[in-house]
């Protein structure tokens, strides 16, 4: 009965089940209470209808009853709050080692950049059973990445990264909507999330032409824009050493410490003199306007890929190896 007249979208991610569980619990709880109240109203309205010989009894009220229907709903609400907060906590903490997909939302289209270098517009191919983390920013107004089948939604803000993650469990093609009003074709800013078996996904990946991995593009940009002159990985340059920086707390000039997440990296590239690490001078020029959002994603991906574990000289080779193929320059 439910196929052609469904009451909720397909459950295609790990969190979909939990959200639906809470939703159904609330549906039953509130449905029962509503029906109870409607029944009471109808029964009272009929039983105590105004008729000759029937007098209204004057009841002042009863503090005990008032107390119960203050405390009891209070406790129930607390439980619902905790359950909802638990699910939200999970949705806002992406698991380690999730595959990053950099997203740029533009007035009325979605642009995705996979770590392996693939670029897609309004379509996102993801493998089943892998955690996928969306690192999203907008080039103009506020948009919102909404996949009903995964029960996730996250506004995409200009000038900042926002992240959302999901773990697809069922292959298929699912709707992608923009949920925050963003102008004329807000309703046209839709797309598809294509969840594929891992084998198919690999075939799709390799079939898409030999594109440079995002980190490699980032590395090329890193040297082209002259970042490597100050940010040296081998010795102490004028800029801080970026190897292993990602995820570590950074002590700033004004005494505050910030965790070097994507937003910190983005801010340092665009407004460098705003967050000066301790002991460095504000001499880095701003790259706002010089670097497009896609290039910014590539740079951030590259800096994130500089892991402390790789010995220094190997750092260059592992990335260099991948870029042996003819570097298709995508700098635009």
């Amino acid at each position: 009965m439910f196929e052609h007249f469904p009451f909720w979208p397909a459950r295609a991610s790990t969190s979909a089940g939990q959200v639906d569980a809470l939703f159904i619990f609330l549906l039953l709880l509130c449905g029962l209470v509503c029906l109870a109240i409607f029944a009471l109203i109808i029964v009272f309205a009929l039983r105590y209808r105004r008729r000759a010989g029937h007098q209204a009894e004057h009841i002042e009220g009863s503090n005990a009853l008032e107390l119960t229907w203050t405390v009891v709903p209070g406790c129930i609400f607390l439980c619902i709050f905790v359950w909802g907060a638990y699910i939200y906590f999970q949705e806002r903490t992406p698991p380690e080692g999730a595959a990053d997909v950099y997203t740029v939302a533009k007035q009325w289209m979605w642009k995705f950049q996979h770590e392996e270098g693939q670029r897609e517009i309004n379509e996102l191919h993801v493998p089943v059973g892998r955690d996928v983390r969306m690192i999203m920013t907008s080039q103009d107004a506020i948009h919102s990445f909404f996949v009903p089948a995964f029960r996730i939604k996250q506004d995409v803000l200009p000038g900042r990264y926002t992240t959302a993650w999901f773990h697809a469990t069922k292959p298929g093609t699912y709707h992608l909507f923009c949920a925050e009003y963003c102008g004329t074709m807000h309703s046209g800013m839709i797309g598809d999330i294509v969840v594929m078996e891992p084998a198919q996904y690999q075939a799709w990946l390799s079939g898409g032409g030999s594109t440079l991995p995002l980190a490699a593009t980032g590395e090329k940009l890193f040297s082209e824009l002259g970042c490597s002159t100050c940010h040296r990985s081998d010795m102490q340059g004028r800029g801080p050493n970026l190897v292993g920086l990602f995820g570590k707390p950074v002590l700033l000039e004004d005494g505050r410490t910030m965790i070097a997440d994507e937003n910190y990296l983005r801010e340092c590239i665009q407004n460098p003199t705003l967050r000066i690490p301790k002991g460095y001078k504000p001499i880095m020029p701003t790259f706002q306007g010089l670097v497009s959002d896609e290039q910014l994603n590539a740079l951030v991906a590259y800096i994130k890929s500089l892991k402390q574990s790789q010995p220094k000289q190997a750092a260059g080779s592992s990335v260099a190896a991948a870029s042996q193929q003819p570097p298709a320059t995508q700098v635009h």
């Binding site: 004004d254 407004n271 003199t273 705003l274 001078k281 504000p282 701003t286 706002q288």
Partner: protein, 225 residues
């Protein structure tokens, strides 16, 4: 609460038909004025919240922007407004005692101080305008992170602009009260409009008391950059 004496007192000047006694009417209008001032607190409060948040996020540019303020003009302006509050308070006192000439002179001095404040403000605005510190196309700033400094100036212009507008409205109200008191409308038993205009004026002064340190005096630490 309202001890309305059934026999209506002699119809005092200014007592409105739906109030039982003059005291009930005065209490009502003073309370009404304070409720209005609370709406003004929340009106300026919105900008103060924005200021606090951006100051927390961009302390450096805020420091940079604040050092482009003219320290001395700001301090003189604060003094001017405090003096105008003094003369307004003395004016209200004079109306309570029924001294019509003192009331008119004090209120005129208050208007002069108000105009003085606006004069100094326009000198500052002209200075900032010429230095290209009005946000928008012709914003010029040589120091580090010009974008956030432009944000600071947006707040400076918005907050001091709304405050100056309120000072202007205040001057208009005081002139109206001067005109009415020159005609002898206010005496010991009916001087409520003077009191309310006084409350409004003091409130506008209090807003400046907060604006002055927040915009002008962030700190005089010599910037390293």
């Amino acid at each position: 609460m309202s001890d309305s004496s059934p026999t209506l007192a002699a119809h005092q000047p200014g007592l409105q038909h739906h109030f039982a006694t003059m005291e009930q009417q005065t209490d009502a209008s003073v309370m009404g004025m304070w409720v209005f001032l609370v709406t003004e607190i929340m009106f300026f409060g919105g900008m103060f919240v924005g200021y606090m948040i951006y100051r927390y996020m961009y302390y450096g540019p805020w420091l940079e922007g604040s050092q482009h303020m003219d320290f001395w003009w700001g301090t003189i302006n604060t003094a001017v407004l405090l003096c105008s509050s003094l003369t307004m308070a003395l004016g209200v006192r004079a109306s309570q005692l029924g001294q019509r000439r003192m009331l008119v002179t004090f209120l005129l001095i208050t208007i002069l101080f108000g105009l003085g404040f606006l004069g100094i403000k326009s000198i500052e605005y002209h200075g900032h305008w010429v230095d290209g510190q009005f946000p928008g196309a012709n914003f010029r700033f040589s120091g580090p992170n010009p974008a956030q400094v432009e944000l600071f100036f947006s707040f400076y212009w918005a907050m001091t602009g709304f405050h100056a507008l309120h000072v202007l409205i205040g001057i208009g109200l005081v002139t109206y009260v001067v005109y009415r008191s020159w005609k002898g409308a206010y005496g010991p038993d009916y001087h409520n409009p003077v009191e309310n205009v006084g409350l409004y004026w003091h409130f506008v002064d209090i807003v400046w008391i907060y604006l002055y340190p927040l915009l002008y005096l962030i700190s005089h630490k010599h910037l390293s950059g």
